[in-house]
């Protein structure tokens, strides 16, 4: 068997417990939603529960990876002894996390779709709404949740690499301080940079108008291809930096 497939299977086994736990939590939560809606006599409450469940998936990868990285700490020497490069080792975790995310999000989306169109009849609330609209909005949302969740997962991976390097070389306390520093200041610095004129010149291009102007209360009127390209680039840089740091700087 291909070594990476073997690694993929190992990560599947490592992550299985957590993913199942998350799924059970999801069902319990949705059950609570059904109960609340029934007690209040308002079916639309269940749809609200479902919407929150869908949105919460943006942090799914982060949660999955935190568990996976935490569990791996005990077996770091086995993990690093592998003949695979660190980028492939990380990718095995990311792919498994993404599969678990996709499954969980798929289930939640189907339930939400049922809740929105049958329990709380969206077509009755908004007579302009048609099935193609629902599919369009749903697809847009699902794709973006997948992307954002994966993106945050890569951010977590980078933080983990920073944490590993600093705790080994500077000690546990400094490791946490630097890790938290990057966690809080990293996004802040990025936000500052994304506000600059240079950023706009570089990445705000390829405007695509969305089909519905009043889509989600008019927040998303259009998107920029360049902006996606920027985040893709940033994700790639973070991933490669994390791989490099662990490959070259981490000792066990």
């Amino acid at each position: 068997m291909n070594p990476w497939l073997g690694q993929l299977k190992k990560e599947y086994r490592l992550g299985k417990g957590g993913a199942l736990g998350a799924l059970i939590a999801l069902f319990l939560y949705l059950g609570l939603g059904v109960y609340t809606a029934w007690r209040m006599g308002k079916p639309e409450t269940f749809f609200a529960f479902c919407s929150v469940a869908v949105m919460i998936h943006v942090v799914y990868m982060a949660g999955y990876l935190c568990v996976s990285y935490f569990l791996e700490h005990k077996t770091m020497h086995l993990w690093l002894q592998s003949p695979l490069s660190v980028s492939k080792l990380l990718l095995a975790k990311l792919v498994n996390g993404f599969a678990a995310l996709a499954l969980s999000l798929f289930i939640t989306s189907v339930v939400t779709l049922i809740a929105g169109t049958m329990v709380m009849d969206v077509f009755e609330l908004n007579p302009d709404m048609t099935w193609p609209d629902v599919i369009y909005i749903g697809t847009f949302l699902v794709i973006h949740i997948l992307l954002i969740s994966f993106y945050i997962g890569i951010g977590i991976t980078f933080l983990w690499a920073i944490y590993l390097v600093t705790t080994k070389t500077l000690g546990k306390i400094s490791g946490w301080v630097i890790g938290l520093g990057v966690f809080f200041f990293g996004p802040w610095i990025l936000a500052k940079w994304e506000d600059t004129k240079l950023f706009d010149a570089l990445f705000i291009w390829g405007k695509v108008n969305l089909k519905y102007n009043d889509f989600v209360y008019g927040i998303f009127k259009h998107v920029y291809v360049g902006y996606y390209f920027y985040h893709l680039l940033l994700a790639l840089i973070l991933f490669l930096a994390a791989s490099w740091l662990i490959e070259r700087k981490v000792e066990v």
């Binding site: 073997g6 690694q7 190992k10 086994r13 299985k16 020497h77 086995l78 002894q81 592998s82 490069s85």
Partner: protein
């Protein structure tokens, strides 16, 4: 075949190896001995590529050791008593067989039989002794030039130690493989060693042929070690 040239290894608050120079020959069973904290484990970890020298160089067959170089040439048994606990014995072997192209599956099966390990048992349910045996099975099944064993006997009862020594003699290819063992249980491996390296405070104190120590000094390794340490 393995060369340490003026290697210094500093950790945050201590010096593990200090200007350490050593040349290890091919096809021998080599024992690395010394008191706790003398640098035995650090020496093996440097060969395994899990750590890197602060100064100096460590090479294997002329190549600088990195994680990648080492993973193709070295099978490393860690002193840590940890494996993926969600796997069974059989799945653990399967995982390593998929990971390493040099993994000899049929040899692994032979060792499992020899060690009387139940393939369907979960790693987390194994006794300490059987976890030790499983580690050896994984370690010896790889057809690589160098086999490293960091404290393979520690915490194991005499029966297990015996099966490990016998397993080593039965399953290692002495024509092509070099074995490097660190241990405190010197008596256990005394009759199977070719060479012994004595380390003190991060430096190589002595390297000797074991039979020469017996022939010329009429000393056992433990006696020799005590004498050299003083």
């Amino acid at each position: 075949m393995i060369e340490f040239k003026n290697v210094t290894k500093k950790y945050r608050n201590h010096l593990a190896l200090d200007d350490f120079t050593l040349s290890l020959p091919k096809g021998k069973i080599i024992g690395v001995v010394g008191e706790n904290g003398s640098g035995k484990s650090t020496t093996l970890k440097l060969i395994s590529g899990l750590i890197r020298p602060s100064k100096g160089s460590v090479t294997i067959e002329g190549e600088d050791i990195t994680r990648k170089v080492s993973s193709a040439k070295v099978s490393y048994l860690s002193e840590l008593d940890v494996y993926y606990s969600f796997y069974t014995v059989g799945e653990t072997i399967g995982y390593y067989a998929s990971l390493y192209r040099d993994f000899n599956r049929s040899k692994a099966e032979e060792i499992l039989d020899y060690m009387k390990l139940d393939r369907s048992k979960k790693v987390k349910d194994l006794s300490k002794g059987n976890r030790g045996r499983l580690k050896i099975a994984v370690n010896l099944s790889r057809e690589v030039p160098v086999i490293l064993m960091d404290e393979p006997f520690s915490g194991l009862d005499p029966m297990v130690r015996d099966s490990i020594v016998k397993g080593l003699l039965s399953f290692v290819d002495f024509q092509t493989q070099t074995i490097i063992i660190t241990t405190h249980e010197i008596k256990e491996i005394e009759p199977i060693l070719d060479l012994v390296i004595l380390i003190k405070d991060g430096k190589v104190l002595q390297m000797e042929e074991v039979e020469e120590i017996r022939i010329h000094q009429n000393l056992s390794i433990v006696e020799w070690m005590k004498k050299e340490y003083e």
